[in-house]
Amino acid sequence: MMERGKISPVQMALLMNPAISATVLLLVPAITAKQAHRDLWLSPIWASLIGFFVVFITYQLNKLYPKETIIEYSEQILGKLVGKLVGAVFLLFYLHITGIIVREYGEFLSGAFLQHTPIAVIIGTMVLVCSFAVIGGLEVIGRASEIIVPIVMLLYLFIFILLLKDLEIENMFPIMEKGIKPSLMGSIVPQSWFSEFLLISFFLPYVKNKKKGMKWGMISVISVMLLMVLTNMMNLLLFGNLTPSLTYPVMIAARYISIADFLEHLESIVMAIWIAGTFIKITVFYYVLALGTAQWLKLSEYRPVVLPLGFLVLLHGLWSARDLQELSHFLATSGAVYILSVQVVIPVILLLVAFIRKKVQQRKGSLQNESPINH
């Protein structure tokens, strides 16, 4: 087996939380607000449904092929040629998405803090640090998440508490003034983020206690949903109708904090904890990319491909968009369709085909009493 390490279901849940939420908290509140206006805090709740659905599908697929990742079992399900093709689609997709993530990271830092540093340097150093973690293996990533994620969460909640006195509850009302539609429309973009829960199909084969995998996957979805609701709520109560026009609302919110004339301008702290979250996010995607590539090429070890892939990720980060506006526009429009079709439609097709195959085989095998999994 390529990855010898094992992680616990809790570690998986801790990994998946920042793997979804790290970038969602940055750009998405503003994108959601454009559609959902005052109901933007409802959108994550609708969007999380797709998260539950993806976790369910992934878990069912994993039950059929407990020791394989999606790259491996798509070959089993669809046959060698089509399976390889689907695998290639996934890998190119994840390469592209990882590129987009590092670009978001680079854009945010160069826009808000390091104006004079070339974006390639900002992205390159981060990819390098992530590659250390990827080379370390799944166990190392899991343990790192156990240290980093709780700290990030606590600090994030701490910022909320500091903002409490500036919040105005009137901004929220009236709820669902124009019915449910705006909030549903607003949930489309967050949906594409929630569909990233497909990543757990790469982790489930290495989870120690498989039965709890589903439970903790769902808990992870709920935690991301709550985090997004909380963030959107904070932005709404703080900025009201201003929210859609801000690029990084959370960042601006941190500037509001002023306690005792001393705790001021905490945006650097926000940035620091956000870097830690993004680190987990990039590492997870990067790891999945490296592991998937190695499995697709049938290598015995994924570590040799890590650094070359890191270079590709860096290039994709630089190529994925001309500037932040283009990137944000892509994510708000065609990106959603693109991401959802790869991460939801293909797995659903895979599961359907796998079930049909299983049924057919059961009919055949009822004479020979053969198990379809050991096929």
């Binding site: 616990s8 809790v10 570690q11 830092l109 803090f113 390091l114 540093t117 900002i122 150093t125 981060m126 640090v129 250390f132 973690a133 080379i135 370390g136 166990e139 190392v140 899991g142 343990r143 790192a144 156990e146 240290i147 980093i148 004339d261 001393f262 001021e264 301008h265 905490l266 650097s268 940035m271 620091a272 870097i275 830690a276 680190f279 570590r303």
Partner: protein, 527 residues
């Protein structure tokens, strides 16, 4: 990854070459396992050729019962001469014995020494004589015997200077391994406390003792420690640091993966938690394996004072661990990239003090930090009576003169001083030097990328620490992976009566430390 493997291979190869070229072929026949000659004269000639030019080795010829030739061999200064005279030479020379006797009758009837050992080969003789035990060889006998009468000068037991406590035992290990074993046996009187001795070092033949409590320590761990120790092949072991580098899991990590201590109470506590202790003759430092990062941040006093105070002091230590690691870097990063974080009034005074400084903040910090490290190193090396004078001069030079000369700013002096003091809060010296070294790369990153650089450095350190294992135990054990029962003794220091479980190192082996329900409460039924 590959490069690392290559480096290891290269080192391994060069080591092998050295090993072949320096095998002790031309030296004395230490490996000689032939039995002794029946004539004592022949044995003496062989031994005298082995001990040629060793003026401290004494050969004392005498007659047993005025008839049989015998020789006493010992090293001057390593044996207790009074005892030899009184309990060996006196009974043997005054002995009235028959013509036919053997060594056993002498041992049973004549010798009034409690610890004796029969000897059959030259190798045995050399071993006993080198460790200070006088050896007697007798004519017409194939065996000799050695008496355990070694005695040499040793340091008295003193309080370890690097690990002092306000409350707690004040004894410390010394350079003699047998005394150190006694210190531990006095704390743990159970026969389950086991000691296994091996000799390491082709020339030094250093006694290395593995200690553990049978039934608590994991068996695979004991075997692993023994295997790693048996693999060591070196000419001499002079300090336990040699052993540490040979048996470390990750040879290129700056972090100490094996704890060293001079304190018997820490060692005994580790034994009770299921660790394996390695004592080395010739050094007061015991090695404790496996070690986790948080155990490097513990002081024995945490357990002796009340648990509320213990918890508070632990948190203080964790905070200042971060200060020691990050303060100069954060100062540089904020001054260079994030000035808006400083409140306006403070910013003005900082800017005023930096007005005349010719260097950028990073250079200023580096100069100060390196000077501070140099001063600290000098303070250790300097003779004690001038040490304090130099440190006063040093403090004046950096503190007053440098500021008034406009070379460094006063806030920077403060930052460096606080950093220096906080690194002393870490109770284990080996951990604090690791952090001292890591401070410099972080400072460079802070100077080039600001807080982003610091975060990247921290993340790299966390990843590195997550990859580390000490004898199979993850280095950040109770935090990553999370072990709920052990969090009680790492994040806080829970009261003794609630620490029911031992930390499980490699296996779940005899986990209960004490039974439930020992919370003290007023005696019932007194109402």
């Amino acid at each position: 990854m590959n490069l690392r493997r290559k480096i290891i291979k290269f080192f391994a190869e060069t080591m092998n070459i050295k090993e072949h070229s320096s095998s002790p072929s031309g030296d004395h026949p230490v490996t000689d396992k032939d039995p002794l000659s029946i004539h004592v004269a022949e044995n003496v000639i062989t031994l005298e050729s082995i001990y040629a030019d060793c003026s401290d080795v004494m050969f004392r010829h005498f007659l047993i019962g005025n008839r049989t030739k015998a020789v006493l061999i010992y090293i001057d200064g390593m044996s207790n001469i009074e005892e030899i005279d009184k309990n060996m030479l006196t009974p043997l020379m005054r002995q009235e014995i028959e013509t036919h006797f053997d060594v056993r009758t002498i041992l049973e009837q004549a010798l009034t020494v409690s610890s004796v050992k029969e000897i059959k080969t030259l190798e045995d003789i050399i071993k006993e004589v080198s460790s200070g035990n006088p050896v007697v060889l007798i004519d017409q006998q194939l065996q000799g015997f050695a008496a355990g009468l070694s005695k040499w000068e040793k340091r008295s037991i003193q309080e370890p200077s690097a690990e002092s406590v306000v409350r707690g035992p004040r004894d410390g290990f010394i350079e003699t391994v047998s005394t150190n074993i006694v210190l531990l046996r006095r704390k743990i009187k159970s026969p389950h406390l086991k000691t296994k001795t091996i000799n390491i070092g082709r020339y030094s033949q250093t006694e290395v003792v593995i200690m553990y409590i049978e039934g608590i320590a994991d068996k695979t761990l004991i075997d692993e420690v023994q295997n790693r120790l048996n693999r060591i092949d070196i000419d001499g072991i002079l300090e336990s640091g040699y052993i540490e580098e040979f048996i470390k899991d990750h040879p290129f990590s700056p972090f100490p993966l094996i704890l060293n201590t001079e304190r018997p109470d820490i060692t005994a506590a580790s034994l009770l938690e299921g660790n394996v202790v390695i004592l080395t003759d010739g050094t007061p430092f015991a090695l404790i394996a496996p070690t986790t990062f948080y155990s490097l941040l513990q002081s024995p006093e945490d357990y002796y004072e009340g648990f509320i105070i213990g918890t508070f002091i632990r948190w203080l230590r964790y905070t200042f661990l971060l200060v020691a690691l990050l303060l100069p870097s954060v100062y540089v990063a904020i001054l260079t990239y994030h000035q808006e974080m400083i409140p306006t009034s403070l910013l003005i005074s900082v800017a005023k003090s930096r007005e005349q400084i010719p260097f950028p903040a990073l250079v200023e910090a580096l100069i100060m930090e390196i000077t501070f490290e140099a001063l600290r190193e000098a303070g250790v090396r300097l003779p004690k009576n001038i040490g304090s004078a130099i440190s006063i001069v040093g403090a004046l030079v950096i503190g007053q003169a440098a500021v008034s000369a406009g070379l460094v700013s006063a806030p920077m002096v403060m930052a460096v001083a606080i950093t220096g003091i906080s690194s002393f809060l870490i109770p284990r010296y080996s951990a604090s030097i690791a952090l001292r070294i890591l401070r410099f790369p972080i400072m460079f990153l802070a100077g080039t990328l600001g807080l982003v650089g610091i975060m990247l450095a921290l993340l790299t350190i966390i990843i590195h620490m997550c990859t580390l294992r000490s004898f199979g135990v993850p280095y950040l054990q109770p935090l990553a992976p999370i072990r709920k029962s052990e969090l009680k003794d790492s994040i806080i220091r829970a009261p003794w009566w609630s620490l029911k479980k031992r930390p499980h190192w490699t296996g779940d082996y005899n986990k209960d430390r004490q039974p439930n329900g020992q919370i003290p409460s007023p005696a019932k039924g007194n109402e």
